[in-house]
Symmetry: C2
């Protein structure tokens, strides 16, 4: 029993080290250059030895992505917990600012999550899907609770939503049902959720890609966008 | 004279082939794996021979990025030319839809332009900067002309713009002055320009990264966003 436990701990420690080496190599050379062989070489392992820990490259990359999602979700959770549960505006502000902060502080993990450059994208996405829904569920839960309590409305400038877009959103409602209860939400609020995501994603991707060279403080621009979105939804924020 | 000309043509043909091979390798393995040596190998050249065409890896990547910008700008220019010059709404719609279409049709080139994963980012950006301003200048010229003619207004939901953001935008006005005349534009319109860019960029990056799996027709979502932005700016569009 003791023996098994020690072996388990050793196994976990080696798995962690493999992931750390993989992370270093991705940071230095991008994800496409990563192979189990290159990790084995750096660790002084035989290539075969690595396969005792990870079945293949996809399995390793999937675990790195799941770790990234977990860390991302923890930072959003932490930002949420720092604000009283019923101060919806401040809570959303805190969470959405934490969203950018995590992305900027973890560019490699953010690229692992949002990059397009994984050859076996579909295999990996199937494995990592559950982890991927944590952050949307955290943000959604606050957004939807605030709407249910009458603290906010969907973004008015997009209304009425065309029938075609409504149909797309109804499909997404079903797809997201495993992670959060959306059954009572108006389709306009689902649309607002997507727009918040894509607007903030655009700002973050331009900042990470250093495309805002002409904007000296992208954080201020991001913050203004978050505050403007909250204002447009009718959310009042006392503490800015 | 004839001899020089033939040599020039040969040189241009080999340069083009090197760029095509580089493009293939980036498509297959990502940009970080690209080396002049790997290109030489595939072409049956000695590594030294490649250096007669490109001084170093940065020079080659810079040329690939400039080619991508030129192709991108041509497609936007073409979309602009398809619509009468004074039909501002339709023209902006045509150009902004072409923006996404080019991105989706050229994911590798779009990643070359907007990716963050180039080690010598700053060197490359200095070389490619002039080319990078073509698309903003094309879109800006139509947006600003429409504003000057009274056909549109800055996005009202962001007003008033805080002093801090205004200062950032005034800095960017100076930085962009080489590509387009912004001297008479209200700072709110500069802000609107950035927001249009970041909103559409967010949608495109989520689509390219296959993050819209739950949205079956991202093109429709993009089109709705473009139409909503135009509507919010007070632009009327007859032909949708």
């Amino acid at each position: 029993m003791m023996e098994t436990s020690r072996r388990e701990r050793l196994r976990a420690a080696v798995s962690l080290e493999i992931k750390q080496v993989a992370h270093q190599q991705i940071t230095a050379q991008g994800i496409s250059a990563l192979t189990l062989r290159s990790i084995a070489k750096q660790m002084g392992f035989t290539p075969q030895a690595i396969y005792r820990y990870f079945e293949n490259r996809d399995a390793l990359i999937s675990e790195l992505i799941i770790d990234a999602y977990n860390d991302f979700a923890q930072s959003i959770q932490k930002a949420s917990a720092e604000v009283p549960a019923d101060a919806y505006g401040e809570r959303l502000l805190s969470m959405l600012l934490a969203y950018r902060q995590w992305a900027i502080a973890h560019p490699v993990d953010f690229a692992l999550i949002f990059g397009a450059a994984i050859p076996e994208q579909h295999v990996v996405q199937r494995i990592t899907q559950e982890a991927s829904l944590q952050v949307p569920a955290l943000l959604g839960s606050v957004l939807f609770a605030a709407w249910r309590q009458g603290f906010l409305q969907p973004l008015p400038e997009y209304q009425p939503i065309p029938a075609e877009i409504e149909a797309l959103l109804e499909d997404s409602r079903i797809a997201l049902q495993s992670a959060m209860d959306l059954s009572d939400l108006p389709v306009e609020l689902l649309h607002t959720m997507f727009l918040i995501w894509s607007r903030l994603h655009g700002l973050i991707m331009l900042e990470i890609g250093e495309r805002f060279q002409i904007i000296k403080e992208p954080e201020a621009l991001y913050r203004f966008e978050v505050l403007s979105i909250l204002k447009a939804m009718g959310v009042s924020i006392t503490k800015r």
